[in-house]
Symmetry: C2
């Protein structure tokens, strides 16, 4: 069955999910050559249909402006010819990546002669629930296809016209390939009911990956009976140890906080060891001020800052928990590395924490005891990223412990299967 | 805080879960030597307290008999001196296994000089919900401890007295070790409310592993907001291909079905290619009859069986879905390997399917297209098992695709953490 995505049709969620399951059965054995050819057709089609995509996107933009959406959000929603070209190039880059399917994760022969191989295989149907940016529609579809999965997409209703056209362009491109168009499917409609149907499609959908703010992710986790991979909520800390190189610590703090503020791997909290606090703040405060950063400090931090003629905003518990996504930072002075670790244990979202120190003992303690997806040792928190890690692509950054933790590339979109070969082996 | 497990105390679930979190923070850096020493103390204590354990178990047995529990279930509930010795020996075996914590899963240096290492680390708090057998209490606690996790246990209320004493014996043993007694905790009480509290303890409990029948597992999946690993429901198929060695196929079928019937890796369904059906049934039917197996066959199967003077029970959809856990098997004749794969796609629980064939093409098709945790090629379904796979221990067999699929050993009780080391690296 090939599903119509014509918005005037009466396709139900169940129709789409069953089509996804059927497509998954064919996609699991697609070769790398077949998948790469399909991806290149998609990239070409996106560029060829640029005018249509921009026109559909204009409908979303007009609706957003009428709804009083902020210009920052409108910008995230906007597709231009150059952005579409970049999206198409990203699809071509995915085609160049190695195929994770078929990789032998473990392989050995048992004493009784049975040969055990654990292979990477596609998950099947990957449900994606995401906000505003329509480029995620193409990104997610390309990564799913490359890893042999069906992408079942539920974007923001604010990007409905853009997403519908993007999916239709990709599906039409697949008609000329050996991959079924049903490898890329949109959840029908924009109702909350359709999200609920996706979240409870256990047995039809193999995994759901939400991408967006904390509210979206919490709602998905609370309501889903399909396994979920939580992504991307980051209250990242920079800890400046007593044995830190002050100049290095200032550079890492500035980069972590200000290189890009609207991302999950930006630093939101600073912890400074009391032994180095005065020396560090003497250098850090002018740098933070020059960068336009507002500091929300605890009392100990405020006292030292005042010595340098700087007033900080008094920090509350809300600041310790905040993901500002702005030029704000919460800051505290701690009397020991243990106090820093305890603060992080209490307030972190488990994404990324950095330590700046030249003490091997302090580094080992911090890396061993802090329970987060990534620990940066004398490096910026901004490095927790699939591209920076050399994965070539990223479907999101997992902040949960099951299945995947940290940046997720193509391998994290696969599961495994054991193939055990014998010559008549039976158990005695 | 060290929690009292005195049943007369008013300890709440939240108290216990917070104690578990605190214990997890200390356990994450426990060395292998510390964990192994703790395990050996536990093993010794279990043997030393045999009389107390048998006495507590007698209360459970008496209650079970008063409730009219079947003798088969009473047997599963029963602890004897020799069973306790075997449980203690299993704990000593766990101590001998390699520690999964600290294993470097990936490690490389990026072009910019950043050193990336992905290490295995404990999950944290592992919630286990399980039925009848009190030996799981010790098994689960030992495997969790070895992998640096806190075991938060919720056994069957039918084994409450046994489980409470076993946990107390293990906790008392830990007092003499460097591992906190709170590494092993029992969910307080036997109410359904306490299960609900465990299932919704997101942020306090890192993963829940249910072990038991399909009803228990479904209930956990439906109601949990904590990530779950589904285990052990098995409707395993044996497919006898047109190119099968008939004698081998009979041996594998018999072993898969009858070597032990009450286990999840026993075969419940037989699919025979029509080209070989008469020849195969001529040999298989007498063997199945001799073993006391009742065949629930489709019409094509029944017609051939009748030629050999054997009447089969007509199969219904219930039979194709059944996990008999008994000397029954559903059986169908299929006209092609594709029909066999389609049948398995429709009815399998995704645990284990076997193919018997000498055709490399058929084997590749079956192994590639069947979407189950394990594919047995010319081997019994009974080999899907942590011990048989050489894992040394097994916490369960995952039938889901996320995190772990197939037999789960100690590695599957860990997550990973990235440690990225630089010398002042910032992003440009």
């Amino acid at each position: 069955m090939t599903i119509s995505t014509d918005s005037s049709s009466t396709t139900t969620f169940r129709d789409v999910a069953l089509a996804a399951r059927d497509a998954a059965a064919t996609l699991t054995t697609a070769t790398r050559a077949e998948k790469d050819a399909a991806l290149l057709l998609i990239a070409d089609a996106l560029e060829a249909k640029t005018a249509d995509i921009v026109a559909a996107n204009a409908i979303d933009i007009e609706r957003a402006r009428m709804n009083g959406t902020s210009e920052a959000l409108v910008d995230r929603l906007t597709l231009t010819a150059s952005r579409i070209a970049a999206i198409a190039d990203a699809v071509r880059d995915v085609a160049k990546l190695p195929d994770p399917v078929g990789e032998v994760v473990r392989g050995y022969t048992l004493p009784n002669g049975l040969q055990v191989r654990q292979l990477r295989v596609p998950m099947g149907v990957v449900g994606m629930i995401y906000e505003a940016r329509p480029n995620v529609t193409v990104d997610a579809a390309a990564l799913a296809l490359k890893s042999g999965n069906v992408a079942l997409l539920r974007g923001s209703s604010s990007a409905f016209d853009s997403n519908t056209l993007l999916v239709n362009v990709m599906r039409e491109a697949l008609v000329a390939s050996t991959v079924t168009p049903d490898a890329i499917l949109l959840v029908p409609g924009t109702s909350h009911e359709s999200v609920k149907e996706l979240l409870t499609a256990r047995g039809l959908v193999d995994v759901i990956i939400p991408r967006g703010g904390a509210d979206l992710i919490n709602s998905v986790v609370e309501n889903s009976t399909v396994p979920v991979i939580e992504t991307g909520v980051g209250n990242c800390h920079v800890y400046v140890d007593a044995d830190a190189d002050v100049a290095m610590a200032v550079q890492i703090l500035l980069n972590s906080k200000t290189q890009r503020t609207s991302v999950c791997n930006a630093a939101e909290s600073l912890l400074v060891h009391s032994d180095i606090a005065e020396e560090f703040l003497a250098a850090a405060l002018p740098a933070l001020q020059a960068a336009g950063v507002t500091v929300h400090g605890d009392e100990a931090f405020a006292v030292i800052a005042r010595k340098f003629g700087v007033d900080v905003v008094p920090a509350t518990d809300e600041d310790w928990a905040a993901e500002y996504y702005s030029l704000d930072i919460a800051a505290a002075v701690v009397d020991s590395i243990d106090a820093a670790i305890a603060h992080i244990r209490r307030w972190s979202t488990g994404h990324t924490e950095a330590i700046v120190s030249d003490s091997a003992t302090a580094i080992a303690t911090f890396a061993g005891e802090v329970d987060s997806a990534a620990i940066m040792v004398n490096a910026s928190t901004r490095f927790t990223d699939g591209a920076e890690f050399g994965f070539g692509a990223e479907i999101g950054i997992s902040t949960q412990k099951l299945h995947a933790r940290g940046p997720m590339g193509l391998a994290e979109l696969t599961t495994t299967k054991y193939i055990v070969s014998g010559d008549g082996h039976v158990r005695s």
